[in-house]
Symmetry: D2
Subunit: 203 residues, 4 copies
């Protein structure tokens, strides 16, 4: 890469403001009934599985860490000792397009097994959105957001001055939403601090 001189950090700060603005707008558009159903199913599930590809997969793992600390039997699809999914289990898929190859296939498989499928997505009419027991829709806030999976989903998105790789807004919103789900789960389960501490990874 050629010598580039950095003279300011204005784009960093204005991008942060743009992301925060998007987050604020999303809150009011979330489906409260879907959130309640998600909370209930997550508590009632025997085992909870999470999955996602790429950065959505990282958000899924960040959520799984918290559920483990809450005392749930939770597993990340694809990790070493993840067991079989059974009908009494809950599968939570994170996929902006709802079409991500492999994740959509595994979502169908989870439904075939008879488990409960919850999808966090921005596309209600996607493959995953349509087959899910609960589809938690995170509306896309960026201008010029393109529908459809595949290449288009991965294009860069210009928003006047700020440029974000497409998906950035979805992934951050999903993380903020799921950490807030954890907050309510802590209260609902009445888990004490002492119990929580016992479950933190000590190794």
């Amino acid at each position: 890469m050629k010598k580039i001189e950095v003279n300011d950090c204005e784009e960093v700060l204005s991008s942060m403001r743009l992301i925060i603005g998007n987050l604020k707008e999303v809150i009011d558009k979330l489906d409260k009934e879907a959130i309640k159903a998600m909370l209930q199913k997550t508590i009632d599930g025997n085992q909870v599985f999470v999955m996602g590809a790429g950065r959505s997969g990282l958000v899924a793992k960040a959520f799984a860490m918290r559920l483990m600390q809450l005392g749930l039997s939770v597993y990340v699809v694809g990790e070493t000792t993840t067991p079989a999914v059974l009908p009494s289990d809950v599968m939570i898929a994170i996929s902006r397009s709802g079409e991500t190859r492999n994740i959509a296939d595994l979502g169908k498989l989870a439904k075939d097994i008879g488990s409960t499928l919850i999808t966090i997505t921005s596309k209600k009419d996607s493959t995953l959105g349509k087959i899910s027991d609960i589809a938690l829709i995170i509306p896309s806030q960026m201008k010029n957001d393109h529908d459809g999976a595949g290449y288009l989903e991965r294009h860069m998105l210009s928003d006047d001055k700020n440029m974000f790789p497409l998906g950035t807004s979805f992934e951050i919103t999903a993380l903020v939403f799921l950490d807030s789900v954890v907050s309510q789960l802590i209260m609902l389960t009445g888990t004490s601090e002492a119990e929580l501490k016992l479950r933190y990874t000590n190794i």
Copy 2:
């Protein structure tokens, strides 16, 4: 877990608002000189390495995916084919406490090798904060935030009504900040959409 009935999702929504409020307050407290220095070093580095433990490690990976798409030679410490760190390289560590075992040790090692160490942390006076070439401080916004690493760092934190596992605010802010760093790096490097697309994982 006993039968628990979910009657509302108010805690989810108020937690989201609390997180967003924290994010807004943080922006004005960021050190602009440190951000500029981080942008410059990241562009100038021969190879970029990222590391973090637990959820901070997931944030590091999310950042690394974007740097790869930008065309940088970027590696996650601990992954299969991550090469040796050389003096011309940049190591970016993410650690709220700046004391996380292993990450602090590897930070020292990176300095011994002669590479540039950048730390994203909320503790300027921590082990990592003190030895870093650039310490990007994300001020902790939660009430009652406790200093010190170890058990205290991992305790649950009550904020009146909302409960978050400690670290939640730091991790989300780090992700929003780093995605905004990516936004400015796209503009600085003048990477075209065509070039970016070529580098997206196609497998």
Copy 3:
């Protein structure tokens, strides 16, 4: 698990002897022309990608670590900063059945992209075996080995006294074979000890 008393370790020792016996028989059945072609393609490839599911994926990673130390540009499919596959690249798939979901799909995709596909498998007539540029066949040595993917592939296999989960023989043979490929690659490339040491992960 109920109290079980361990009185000897005879099954461990006889199982080790059985595995070694299988390994010895396999050597003479390997296709030398396929091995030579694999060595040539691996050296000639611009970038090398490896992939596999489950334990075969772990063997793929163990191989990738060595190729990295040899100085090749090597990536594991699915890791954080793995770039796009290009026509000048080599994709090495490890799949006993040659039908493993996702790995077979990605193998087809690699062929569509125009890259060279090398498969380590025990089924020449499998999906992956048929579409590969080079299919390196590791003949199955266990008695009663069952053809076909899916459930059958995962059954436990009884060999008179010893029981192995099916796949054990394939995975160990693949690891021994690939480590031996590394041995010849070291000689072919004339990589000096000093160069190799430089590339060992130091972090």
Copy 4:
């Protein structure tokens, strides 16, 4: 890499024979009492944790997959939902030198917690070898094997004609040994095929 022509694959085949020869010699040198103790502790442990760095970590994961299928509560140190280690648990460390940074530290921590520490190593007098409840010694078979951790451990080792990266022999032997441990555990626990199948990852 310059154009290199591959004319034969003799080094691959002779390297395979050398590895097999090493494996055969190791069997008679294994400590049967240590193996019996390891089997007993693994069965008796409440939860089983495994860990290792680099290629030894991959061997640890391959073992963990089988233990999970056997129905044990098994976790890989460092994975997303790995819980806290408790005194009633068993920690299995794989480290050729017995000195691997981080793994040795975590071994000490496991002992401090009060859990049972089992180490697979080639160095009885190493840090891990000395503090372990059971040290399963895999004698190093290669000529000129160098003691000591750090750089020396990672050097390349010339054995007349064949060259192996140091550690190759240990890692393969550890995998063959642990897969054979699984074979005896299947018999000891009397796990039926039907039970085993239920636990195979279906997603």
